[in-house]
């Protein structure tokens, strides 16, 4: 791997906006532009603009593209209609989660798999390996796309001013090719913030024009550029898992409370089926640690890796934690023993540098937008 981080097509723009940059999965990405709390609140109440060009796009095409995906992934991709998208996972033979993915069906026999930046190469390698025997092509399209997300309640209005595409007809988890600000883009109604919003896949050469047009169109609506820092607090409030935190190769989807993404009913074998069937049975017999929400009574912030304690015993581990701008208190996601996982369980705390700080156990998510 090269030692110098990769830069997105919007790199110069970020620097001109005064972004604090950070290394993220080998990419130099905007962490925040000014205050991450202001950015977070902008997405919750108005709109925010994100550069997500580090995400890994992989195109799968060919007569047996869907068969390959049904074999390689745990979801039932055959049931995804053209123009729709599906949240799914790719697992190892032993059931461990390799990555969580969004698969967009772009055409009858064309799919785009979007992997997390840090896992994109692994996912690409796995798909290529699993493609053996299928009449399908796996194409590395990581350099073919820049990805810009506009998220927040004002985002439909902002985007509508720049495109003729039928946004009202575009459902959540759907995507359609269109033109935005004169630039060709795949317009997808997806996101990772808990808000309504869109992800726009475009050619890198068009990224700056698209970003600038969205900035101008959103100015009066209060749109501001947003970095990865607020993206993390937004997804945490929305109870969305993050690979490397809530999801790892050490966990199956059933251990992560996401067993519903595994579709045993689909025809044909898929990688991990046997191990996952066993994991499903284990989870039914003896519930594994459960992913719960924790809300601090005090102000100290739980961090990934900190122990969850009750009665002096370790009963779990924090996977993500941050001060929640919306709740005004620190929050965390944590895997907790079933005996302490029920909302309202008394006496649960987090060991923060030696002090057991009291926490309230709640069901996820912390935040759900009004529909």
């Amino acid at each position: 791997m090269s030692t110098s981080p990769r830069r997105t097509a919007l790199d110069a723009l970020h620097r001109s906006l005064g972004a604090t940059m950070t290394d993220f999965a080998g990419w130099d990405m905007p962490l925040r532009y000014a205050s991450e709390r202001d950015e977070h609140n902008a997405v919750r109440t108005r709109a925010g603009l994100f550069d997500l060009s580090h995400m890994g796009e992989i195109t799968v095409t060919g007569p047996q593209a869907v068969d390959l995906l049904d074999h390689a992934l745990v979801g039932n991709i055959s049931t995804v209609g053209p123009g729709r998208a599906r949240y799914t996972m790719i697992c190892r033979e032993d059931g461990g989660i390799v990555d969580d993915l969004i698969v967009y069906r772009l055409g009858d026999t064309e799919y785009m798999v979007v992997a997390n930046a840090g896992n994109a190469q692994t996912v690409l390698d796995a798909l290529r390996e699993r493609a053996a025997g299928f009449d399908a092509e796996v194409r590395d399209d990581r350099d073919a796309y820049a990805l810009i997300a506009v998220q927040g309640p004002e985002s439909p209005g902002i985007l509508a001013s720049l495109t003729d595409a039928d946004l009202e007809g575009l459902k959540y988890y759907a995507g359609l090719p269109g033109t935005v600000a004169g630039v060709p883009a795949l317009i997808a109604r997806t996101g990772y913030t808990g808000e309504d919003g869109f992800e726009l896949f475009t050619e890198p050469q068009h990224a700056e024009k698209l970003w600038t047009a969205l900035t101008e169109a959103g100015r009066d609506a209060g749109l501001i550029p947003c970095g990865l820092s607020c993206r993390d607090t937004l997804r945490l409030e929305a109870g969305m898992p993050l690979y490397g935190h809530e999801l790892t190769t050490a966990l199956t989807p059933f251990d992560a409370g996401l067993g519903r993404v595994v579709k045993f009913e689909k025809t044909g074998d898929f990688v991990g089926r046997e191990a996952l069937a066993a994991a499903a049975e284990r989870a039914a017999q003896a519930p594994p640690r459960k992913l719960v929400g924790l809300i601090a009574e005090g102000r100290r912030v739980p961090r990934a890796g900190m122990k969850v304690v009750a009665g002096g015993e370790v009963v779990g581990e924090v996977t993500s934690g941050a001060p929640s701008p919306t709740l005004g208190r620190p929050i965390a996601m944590a895997y907790v023993d079933a005996a302490h996982a029920a909302p309202g369980t008394e006496g649960v705390g987090v060991d923060i540098r030696g002090t057991h700080e009291p926490y309230e156990v709640v069901a996820l998510p912390f935040y759900k937008r009004a529909k």
Binding site: S35, V301, R303, A322, R353
Partner: protein, 125 residues
């Protein structure tokens, strides 16, 4: 960003005011506050605590991380800024003013505190 001329600075990014009746005020610089991001929790030394130059005396927690707070001088803490405890964002919005952290009756000062110009050069700001 500008570092006030009348203050002195440590390489740990604290500032120290000139002593009045032997008491100096301590805070962190705007450079440090920007690097931390939004400060959400401040654990400050308590009145009566003895602090030692270059040693930790509290912590500042931001959205992304927790950082130790060092004292730029040795002495006895005579006041902690309750406003910052109640509203840690003051550290970001007014690092050299309302966001000061504690006051200390100075018993000993290290020789290597920096002037504003030296600190600007040191921090690249």
């Amino acid at each position: 960003m500008s570092n006030p001329q009348q203050l002195r600075y440590s390489k740990e990014h604290e500032w120290l005011s000139a002593a009045e009746d032997g008491v100096s005020t301590v805070g962190i610089t705007e450079f440090a506050a920007n690097a931390l991001g939004d400060v959400v929790y401040a654990q400050l030394p308590e009145v009566g605590d003895t602090v030692t130059a270059g040693e930790t005396c509290g912590e500042l927690e931001s959205t992304k991380s927790v950082s130790d707070l060092y004292s730029p001088v040795s002495g006895e803490v005579v006041e902690a800024n309750q406003d910052v405890v109640d509203d840690p964002s003051l550290v970001n919005s007014a690092p050299f003013e309302g966001g000061w952290l504690f006051k200390v009756r100075v018993s000993e000062e290290p020789k290597d505190l920096l002037s504003a110009d030296e600190y600007s050069e040191f921090s690249g700001n």
